[in-house]
Amino acid sequence: MSRRSFLAACLAAALCAASGAPAAAQSAQQQQVPAAAAFVERLAQRAIEGLTARDIDLDERTKRFRELLTESFDVPKIGRFALGTAWRTAAPPDREAYLKAFEDFIVATYATRFADYGGETIRVVSSRRLDEGEAAVGSVFERARGEPVRVDWRLAPEGQSWKIIDVIIEGVSMAITQRDDFSATVQRNGGRVGPLIDQLREKARPTTAQRS
């Protein structure tokens, strides 16, 4: 067996040598943004410390999540983006109602996910500068089981610190996905924002299963 595996390794090594360097031949080093990377690292740490405790109830977890969310994410900006062109034509009271419903929806959707935390960690692997002072931070979400998941964070400068404006999971931007989703709902309702707000509110209502 060991003889065979040795042969296999040799074969494999020869193949790789023949076909050029297999390892990542790093292209030109991009400009790092250590401050943004540190921001994401700190956020991940705070989320794990504060949100994953098993002895807190749903209300407490939700409260802590909302604090962390509004502090670290530019929720209104993400919300405006997610509504797409409908934002422009929406009446001011609708905008306000929508942003409120959007935040509640985000909180309800994600807060509960921290309840069944299984030792996952987030490792920041890269950062780079984007246009308009923004930064992208690359990280790997490592799970106890299953493949690691690539998560990229997009941050905009906010005073002396940052605010996250998008999360890109395995190449899929949450902001763009949400915009497609919300736009479809608005358009299916003849351009009215009301039904979308109703749906977001409905989804934000915790189910009895989550309560207990």
Binding site: F81, T85, T109, I168, V172, T177, D181, L196
Partner: protein
């Protein structure tokens, strides 16, 4: 499956083409459902696609989900083994596509994986190659076409097989016919091989992605639109062989800002 296995994919493919060719349906679309277009995904057959999507969701409820749930009752090792085995059967075709894409180092990696896992990993049930520094990846004809410069074409929801686009649908047909494992099986009167591995792979994938699908559904107000975006972006990422943040989609997020309605900016989505 009541369909004769060899014709299973072909029939489904024909259905997909039918959906694609059912162009006139667009004209009869009620105004309300006509336009939920994402800005950079072409979906002219949305009306038909949505119907197929509902059909697929029904199939998922009555067949795929129950099967995946039963599959989940197997011991972890059995599922790992199944996953690895089905994955290993894909590597010869992946290797062909690596070559066709002009990726010699990826070809070397795939080639090594196939031999290591087939001979040392009990016909692919184990994945010793990954520990030896040969990570898994998959390439298919749709991705190869993309590297040759073929565009996505219109989005297509295939019956049974789910989200696709014109390029990937053609690629899928090519995959089914030219895949070396299927090809050899067909020429040895083992017609059942292709459909069986597709079915097992489908159940395995449904089980592995169970939670992600639940989450996506829970966080969407229009599941069709969400799946359309997620499928498209996952494919784009796979085509770019994106290891990470170098090519993440970075939309300008200024487009929904409180700019006055009379002075829209250039990058406003449709």
């Amino acid at each position: 499956m009541s369909l004769s296995p060899s014709s299973f994919r072909t029939v489904a493919f024909a259905f997909g083409l039918f959906a694609f060719l059912a162009l006139p349906a667009k004209a009869e679309m009620p105004a309300q459902t006509a336009q939920t277009q994402a800005s950079d995904i072409s979906d002219p057959f949305e009306y038909v696609n949505r119907g197929v999507f509902e059909f697929n969701r029904f199939l998922d409820e009555i067949a795929l989900k129950p099967l995946a749930a039963w599959y989940g009752l197997l011991p972890d090792r059995a599922r790992e083994g199944t996953h690895n085995f089905v994955g290993n059967l894909k590597t010869p075709w992946t290797a062909v596509n690596d070559l066709a894409q002009g990726e010699p180092s990826r070809f070397g990696n795939t080639f090594a994986r196939f031999f290591i896992n087939t001979f040392l990993g009990f016909f692919g049930a184990f994945d010793p190659a990954a520990q030896m520094g040969f990570p898994a990846h998959e390439e298919d004809a749709g991705q190869t076409f993309a590297t040759w410069g073929v565009g996505e074409g219109p989005y297509i929801m295939l019956p049974v097989f789910g989200p696709s686009n014109l390029r990937d649908t053609v690629g899928f047909a090519v995959d089914s016919f030219l895949d070396p494992v299927n090809y050899i099986a067909r020429h040895n009167d083992a017609q059942w091989v292709g459909p069986t591995r597709s079915a097992v792979g489908g159940v395995d994938a449904r089980h592995r992605n169970w939670q992600q699908i639940e989450d996506l559904q829970r966080q969407s107000t229009d599941f069709y639109a969400t799946i359309r975006r997620v499928y498209t972006e996952r494919r784009r990422a796979a085509i770019a062989n994106r290891a990470g943040g170098d090519a993440i989609p970075v939309p300008r997020m200024t487009d929904a800002e409180d700019a006055p309605v009379s002075a829209p900016r250039a990058e406003i989505p449709r």
